[in-house]
């Protein structure tokens, strides 16, 4: 599907989707409320078949967190980017590791560095940082007087 067709199809699945324009791929912004059903739709819906999650990103916008999921279809070769806004004080989102297995490690990384909690994740532990590490190093308000020299 091309960009316009993808948009039409996504509008059928999501009540009032917000699209971001000007990006390379079709980008839709949503909230965590209906995320689980929408994620299953993205994977399985007729004509979409987004069976490959090739990137999971977390962004700290200071006012909120944004989870970014890059999805592509190995059948149709089209790509959709889904952005999910999360509360800054309590960033919680339902895991997609049961929908796209690769998300298991990606979500552990986002948890490790940003402190985003993925409910239903099978093994949400630190990935890169040591097990006893305190804090979330990639957050904008992160302070570490021991290891960091501030400029």
């Amino acid at each position: 599907m091309n960009k316009e067709e993808l948009k039409t199809r996504l509008q059928e699945l999501l009540p009032s989707p917000a699209f971001e324009e000007g990006a390379e791929w079709t980008t839709v912004v949503t909230d965590p409320a209906g995320w689980e059903g929408f994620a299953w739709d993205l994977r399985g819906a007729e004509g979409l078949d987004l069976d490959y999650l090739f990137c999971v990103t977390a962004i700290d916008w200071k006012t909120h967190f944004m989870m970014v999921y890059h999805l592509t279809s190995t059948v149709y070769r089209h790509t959709v980017v889904v952005k999910v806004k999360l509360d800054h004080d309590d960033p919680v989102i339902r895991t997609v590791s049961d929908i796209w297995r690769t998300a298991e490690f990606h979500e552990r990384e986002a948890f490790d560095l940003f402190g985003v909690v993925f409910t239903g994740h099978p093994d949400l532990r630190r990935l890169f940082m040591t097990d006893d590490w305190k804090g979330w190093p990639l957050r904008k308000d992160y302070e570490d007087p021991v290891n960091m020299i501030k400029l």
Partner: protein
């Protein structure tokens, strides 16, 4: 140190010609250091982009074997010199220390590039990077650059040889 001046007289000592041969007059320490300096086996060790330049230095175009570094070893137990080619993060520091401890004496260290020297581009606002590999193991020669060109690394390696010959390392 002036690298262009070295290697001219190479061997430390002089030969006094006698009938049917000659007598070599030298100091044993200097001969040992001279031998060591000409057969430095580097450890295969690289943690980031400096390692690419190091591989280039080893490969055909720059070919560090011209200076006696030909046998890069994949085990610290057979290596004489470790070139810290890249960033050392806090999690890598104990690994680097263990590698250094596993190397047999005499052993030498070259800190290649800005990261290994001081943390370089990761000096400020980083939670994970060691601000200079000399916090972990003692360094003989530092090379500037990000990454240094192969010529710069060769210069450092020759400087290390000179340092060993002088008995300073």
């Amino acid at each position: 140190m002036d690298v262009s001046q070295q290697n001219k007289s190479g061997f430390p000592g002089e030969v006094h010609p006698t009938a049917g041969g000659g007598i070599l007059v030298t100091k044993l320490d200097e001969v040992i250091n001279w031998a060591r300096s000409n057969s430095l086996w580097p450890l295969v060790f690289g943690t980031s982009c400096c390692a690419i330049e190091m591989m280039s230095t080893a490969a055909a175009k720059y070919d560090w074997s011209r200076f006696g570094f030909e046998v890069a070893r994949a085990t610290p137990r057979q290596a004489d010199v470790i070139i810290i080619a890249g960033t050392i993060v806090n999690k890598m520091a104990p690994v680097l220390k263990r590698l250094y401890d596993q190397m047999a004496d005499p052993k030498y260290v070259i800190a290649m590039g800005a990261c290994a020297t001081s943390g370089g581009p990761f000096f400020y606002n980083t939670y994970s990077v060691v601000k200079g590999a000399d916090h972990v193991i003692p360094v003989d020669v530092y090379v500037a650059g990000c990454p240094p060109r192969p010529e710069a690394l060769l210069h450092a390696m020759i400087a290390l040889q000179e340092k060993i010959r002088r008995g300073a390392s």
